[in-house]
């Protein structure tokens, strides 16, 4: 058992899989020599050589597009996009090919590939470095979209993602890359994609969130506990496909539902989750299912971002409104 933060866990996990499976290749901008702008791939090129861990020219569309070709031809590419906000040039490849190849060829071709990237905000970065793609990626049929909130989950989910025979988008909350450490087993283990995790059981309200917001929600939970509110906190872990059962079961018990996400409110994952709750737990509801989400604005650059991203206090205030409805 080693104690690791999120970024060193990503590095360790890639190392494990490069070692175990010769078909795994890792690449992207600054991924090889430098080891990634966040150091996710540091040391890997040295260990596995330039054929398996390499720098690409600056071209997101080509990074994803060539990954498609590699996956068709027997490799398991793990491509890095430097920041989630740089993915848009590759969006054409993702929506037109990554998500469709298996269906288009009626199963003749499939794409065992992973696109991983730092995701989300709250790190006082320049424009385009704080984007939340939950909505834009979650909406595409044919993609799995995963986001861990702890080092332990990151290893299990990333191994599942690389071993998956279909494309997986792996969103790494950059805000918590180095926020805390946790014990991560050295040995091989996987966490199934599509399974949420109940972090804390409660009876008064179901709170679903993911990524960096999980940790704010747990802080909010402490504030609620002080006021006698027992919230059930669920880390969604996989944005698509959504773990319906865990959520519906929880809402049937609590009768109240709050979803919290960084992405802009309108047309976001919150709307999807509320629809699921309405379909599966309507007669159990004691308050309107509620979204606490980003404003429908471009994510502000640093001097305004504290208004966009929610802290525990603001989350707690929103949850309380639902409990006291």
């Amino acid at each position: 058992m080693a104690v690791m933060n999120l970024i060193s866990t990503i590095n360790h996990t890639l190392d494990v899989e490069l070692e175990r499976d010769d078909s795994v290749v890792v690449f992207g901008e600054d991924v090889g020599l430098e080891g990634g702008v966040f150091r996710a791939t540091v040391g890997l090129q040295k260990k596995y050589g330039e054929k398996r861990v390499f720098d690409t020219p600056l071209a997101e569309s080509a990074i994803v597009g060539t990954a498609v070709g590699m996956a068709i031809n027997g490799l398991r590419p793990v491509a890095e996009i430097q920041f989630s906000g740089f993915i848009y040039p590759a969006y054409n490849q993702i929506i037109s090919h990554v998500a469709r190849m298996r269906n288009r060829t009626r199963g003749r071709l499939h794409l065992p590939m992973v696109i991983r990237m730092p995701h989300g905000g709250g790190i006082k970065a320049l424009e385009h470095h704080s984007e939340s793609l939950d909505t834009l990626l979650g909406h595409i049929p044919g993609l799995k979209v995963v986001t861990p909130s702890t080092p332990y989950d990151a290893k299990g989910l990333l191994l599942s993602a690389i071993r998956d025979d279909d494309p997986v988008i792996f969103l790494e909350p950059s805000k918590i890359y180095r926020a805390f450490k946790q014990e991560v087993p050295e040995e091989d283990y996987t966490i199934p994609i599509g399974k949420a995790k109940v972090l804390k059981e409660g009876t008064d309200v179901t709170v679903v969130t993911w990524g960096a917001y999980v940790h704010e929600a747990l802080k909010a939970d402490k504030l609620l506990t002080e006021e006698g509110i027992q919230a059930e906190i669920i880390d969604l872990r996989t944005i698509s496909p959504i773990d319906r059962d865990t959520i519906i079961e929880s809402v049937q018990k609590t009768g109240r539902f709050v979803v919290i996400h960084e992405a802009a409110k309108s047309f976001g994952p919150g709307a999807e989750l509320i629809a699921l709750v309405n379909e599966g737990a309507f007669l159990h509801l004691e308050a309107p299912p509620t979204r606490l989400a980003g404003f429908d604005v471009t994510i502000p650059i640093p001097r305004g971002e504290h208004h966009y991203f929610m802290d525990a206090q603001r989350m707690a205030a929103g949850i309380k409104k639902v409990v006291h409805y």
Binding site: P57, F86, K124, H128, F295, D296
Partner: protein, 360 residues
Amino acid sequence: MLTEQYGPLQKKMFQIMDETGAILSPDLVPDRSEEEWLQSYKLMLKTRSADNKALQLQRQGRMLTYAPNTGQEAAQVGSAAAMEKGDWLVPAFRELGAWLSRGVDLERVYLYWYGNELGSQFPEDVRMLPISVPIASQLQHAVGVAMASNIKGESDVTVAYVGDGGTSIGDFSEALNFAGVFNAPVVFIIQNNQYAISVSRQKQTKAETLVQKAVAAGIPGILVDGNDLMAMYAATKEAIERARRGEGPTLIEAYTYRLGAHTTSDDPTKYREDEEVETWRDKDPVKRMKAYLIGKGVWSEEEDAKLIEEYDEEALEVFRKVEASGETKLEDIFKYHFREMPPHLQEQYEEYVQYLEEVE
């Protein structure tokens, strides 16, 4: 025509001044007075002071992520000096010298890097587009601006910048192609500073030069010593005049070097050798221009030291102002998305204001 003598396939680099400030080709020196060269030099110094100060403040934790500029002043100031009042500037993000040359005040620049969108709200008489972080995407806008000048029958030229890494992005090729097809009055300047973060120019493309990409687009190009103010001025001037005559776009590769980091978030010692950096320090564009002006008797070490001190103080003063008033106003986050705020946004804004009042 310089583009014929130093065209993409000639494999020659256009230079007027050597590393010591000595003139190599007197017949190619542009027709400008020593006073005008001195003005350009002062802009280079001002750029460097502002850059040094930003870096210093970033290290003190008072400025956020910043993209250092030092070493590239001639490529920026030299090209911008060739522009006329009505011409358009389309930046990437590392063109401090060009921005200051075009009349963007340092307060805006610092406000941007301080993390406030108002840093991109330029005065209306400054024809400049905002910083474009998505690499090479701005080149499309530049071509569009230039096409509009054509369509409207106006003679303004657009000058657009991109880095060496940006030439690998599809947008770069698409922009050059459009510019050629529509004969757009645009000048593309590649600031080839040899690195895209950690990836060296050699790993970016197998092409021997970046400027040879002009050949495929069917447009003229020229490889220029980007640390030579005179050469940058002359090459850009010729390209702008050609565009203004209705003869279309030009690609300029300014061969230069980023002496600092990509941004304050990276450590260049991880991907390049100190010796390499030192050889480029010898090619410093500021140093060679200073030597030239002192040789001409229009400048002195004493005046130089005094002016740097003045610029340093000025930069600090500007930053203090930004620091004192640079926080983003809450309403600014909402009010600029549309001419009129739609009801759902108005509601989100009001709900949040109400929340803030409740917790305070």
